[in-house]
């Protein structure tokens, strides 16, 4: 089926070419980091995880978001999603591969990364994260590929594929729960030490993932002859709306516990994010922008007229993605390490090489996504007789 991805319009090849350029720059910067060390990033002894791990966390959420299409279709027979489960699965594949790349570039001794498999350590959440992500990747590849091949051949997929699809549903919940457990069990990091970390992660994932999927469906509608279906897109919009409301609600719960209890440990990181701590106000404009954008998203998603209109729905999805990215892909990590164990503040901001490596990985993910989507859309067009 990959032959569907090597025939495309000029715009298609220009897009892939641009992504390859970004991937090349990222690779070059990474080689520099490989030989000189992680000192070329903005990370420090105090803020020892930064942009890379933040992107990993955000992308695990996006990968888990695919389940919001798979669950209604396989468990509740919601036929409208039947057309786009493959798009959700392929998005999950691209997202998980980006996650693994972000781990690889963050690790200080990448040549030793097999040690996690050679010396399995069940008490370490990182071991389980690697396990669940790898299995999730395999599940999506196997299910996606088989379903698409069956569609191409005009037959129904084999029964065992459905079993794997069923397994992938709780598995999607598990990948993001385990990722939340990386943070939620660390004594001494009070911003993260909350029981609702996993719940916050899941709600943010189920808003951001389907939002991205929705935007991709709209793009697919425009650039190909495959129509994911207005019903599917509208229902996705509803899912994004509920998930995002819950996500914002959970954040407000955190604010209450922190500020009503007045416990310094609970408050300090949030104060750092929204008003600055010891003169460091790096995150302040970002967090307030995220708040404003989230309010816009909420309005557009809650008001039925703007949610039904595909243009305003698209704007709402962009807003959801931006505000959830600032919260998870930027604020979560930096505020977790601020203040440090000595109540001091160390400034962190990704350096240019760090950002270029990250952009390179995002480009890799989008490259993979484009190729997979081109393949899926090609097969669907062919099956519908409009190729």
């Amino acid at each position: 089926m990959l032959e569907k991805a090597i025939k495309g319009s000029q715009a298609y090849w220009i897009w892939l070419g641009a992504l390859l350029v970004l991937m090349g720059i990222g690779l070059g910067c990474y080689l520099w980091q490989f030989f000189v060390g992680l000192k070329i990033t903005g990370m420090s002894r105090d803020v020892s995880w930064g942009f890379y791990i933040a992107q990993l966390t955000y992308l695990v959420g996006v990968a888990a978001g695919g389940v919001m299409v798979v669950l209604p279709y396989y468990l509740h027979d919601y036929k409208a999603f039947g057309r786009i489960t493959i798009l959700g699965e392929f998005l999950a594949i691209a997202a998980v591969i980006m996650c693994m790349l972000f781990v690889f570039v963050d690790v200080g001794q990448p040549v030793r990364i097999m040690n996690v498999i050679l010396h399995p350590t069940p008490n370490s959440i990182l071991f389980w994260d690697m396990t669940v992500l790898s299995v999730y990747l395999l599940l999506n590849i196997i299910v996606g590929w088989n379903v698409l091949t069956a569609e191409r051949k005009g037959v129904h997929y084999q029964k065992w594929v459905k079993v794997l699809a069923y397994i992938s549903i709780p598995w999607a919940f598990s990948i993001h729960t385990v990722t939340a457990f990386l943070y939620a069990g660390l004594p001494g990091r009070h911003y993260w030490l909350t029981a609702i970390m996993a719940a916050r992660f899941l709600s943010s994932a189920f808003a951001a993932g389907p939002a991205l999927l929705l935007l991709l469906c709209l793009i697919v509608r425009k650039v190909s002859r495959f129509d994911p279906g207005k019903d599917a897109i509208r229902t996705l919009g509803g899912i994004v709306a509920y998930a995002f409301i819950i996500n914002v609600f959970f954040f407000l719960l955190e604010l209450f516990t922190a500020f009503y209890s007045q416990i310094p440990g609970h408050m300090h990181s949030i104060v750092f994010l929204f008003s600055g701590l010891e003169g460091n106000t790096t995150m302040v404009p970002w967090m307030w922008s995220a708040t404003a954008i989230a309010v816009v998203a909420l309005i557009l998603l809650i008001v039925p007229a703007t949610r039904r209109n595909l243009d305003t729905l698209a704007v709402a999805c962009v807003a959801v993605i931006i505000s959830s990215w600032i919260d998870k892909g930027l604020g979560l990590l930096i505020a977790g390490f601020t203040p440090n164990p000595f109540e001091g503040v160390t400034h962190y901001w990704p350096t240019t090489p760090e950002m270029m490596i990250s952009v390179g990985i995002w480009a890799t993910g989008f490259f993979l996504l484009t190729v997979l989507y081109k393949m899926a859309v090609g097969v669907k067009e062919e099956a519908a007789g409009v190729a």
Partner: protein, 264 residues
């Protein structure tokens, strides 16, 4: 016609997966076999330390830090963001945040404290390490296996005391001006870039029956400034010091069981 291409690929793929997963499965299902070799030999000890702040002063603290860093070839990076330190100096406020008040005595306000890894009884860093590169020996020392560390820095996130440092660059390429004669100790290795390091309670010296070097250096100047011993032995000197003095530890409410005690 024999095996067709599709079936051949299926079998090849499955065998590869079985081979790769086999060892891990063995590890999980039969932990005894593969783990047995990794059990340390010394048993029954819990190494701990008491630092008597009444007997320490700034000069002695600096001596202890210099001795440790020289002995272990810890480089001076010259940049607080990337610095590597096994033992260091902090104020009371930074050492015991949450344990302060507005009306602290001037003496305590200005007193410099000597901080190091607490070699906790219930160490969160050991709990999170995905490769057991940091692990707790039977004698209580929380030690680093530099050969195995992949530099994921999960332990640095888990440690509530900020005791761990990462080699952001090659330690041998630290500024020469700040590290004359580096490495100072040819009998101890340096580290490579990309691994985490921290105080190891001078495990290599303990093996030879010697005290950790900070304790030895402090003891040469002021007797009893730092006491190192076996907390599990009720007749040890350290236990007697703990009976006679009120001591505090850093962040005990976190349940980590730190084994470095401070007499104020």
């Amino acid at each position: 016609m024999g095996v067709n291409r599709r079936n051949f690929l299926k079998i090849a793929g499955l065998s590869t997966l079985a081979g790769l997963g086999g060892r891990s499965a063995l590890e999980l299902l039969a932990p005894g076999e593969l783990e047995a070799r990794e059990q340390p030999l010394s048993k029954g000890k819990t190494w701990g330390m008491v630092i008597d702040m009444k007997k320490m002063d700034e000069a002695l603290i600096e001596k202890c830090i210099a001795a440790c860093h020289r002995f272990h070839n810890v480089p001076s990076i010259g940049n607080p963001k990337e610095e590597v330190k096994w033992i260091w100096k902090e104020t009371y406020h930074h050492s015991f945040p949450g344990r302060e008040n507005e009306f602290l005595s001037e003496k305590v306000e200005e007193m410099p404290f000597l901080l190091l890894c607490n070699h906790c009884t219930n160490p969160p860093c050991v709990r999170v390490c995905p490769t057991k590169a940091t692990f707790k020996r039977d004698d209580g020392v929380v030690i680093m296996d530099m050969h195995r560390c992949i530099g994921c820095r999960f332990c640095m996130a888990a440690c509530p005391y900020g005791s761990r440092s990462f080699n952001w660059g090659d330690p041998r390429k630290a500024p020469a001006a700040l590290n004359p004669g580096f490495p100072a100790n040819p009998e101890y290795p340096t580290r490579s870039m990309g691994v985490v390091e921290k105080c190891n309670f001078c495990a290599e010296r303990l093996a030879k029956g010697q005290l950790p070097i900070c304790v030895e250096v402090a003891g040469e100047e002021v007797e009893g400034a730092m006491v190192f011993g076996d907390l599990a032995d009720p007749d040890s000197e350290i236990r007697e010091v703990l009976r006679e003095h009120y001591t505090i530890r850093r962040k005990p409410e976190l349940g980590t069981g730190p084994n470095v005690f401070y007499v104020i």
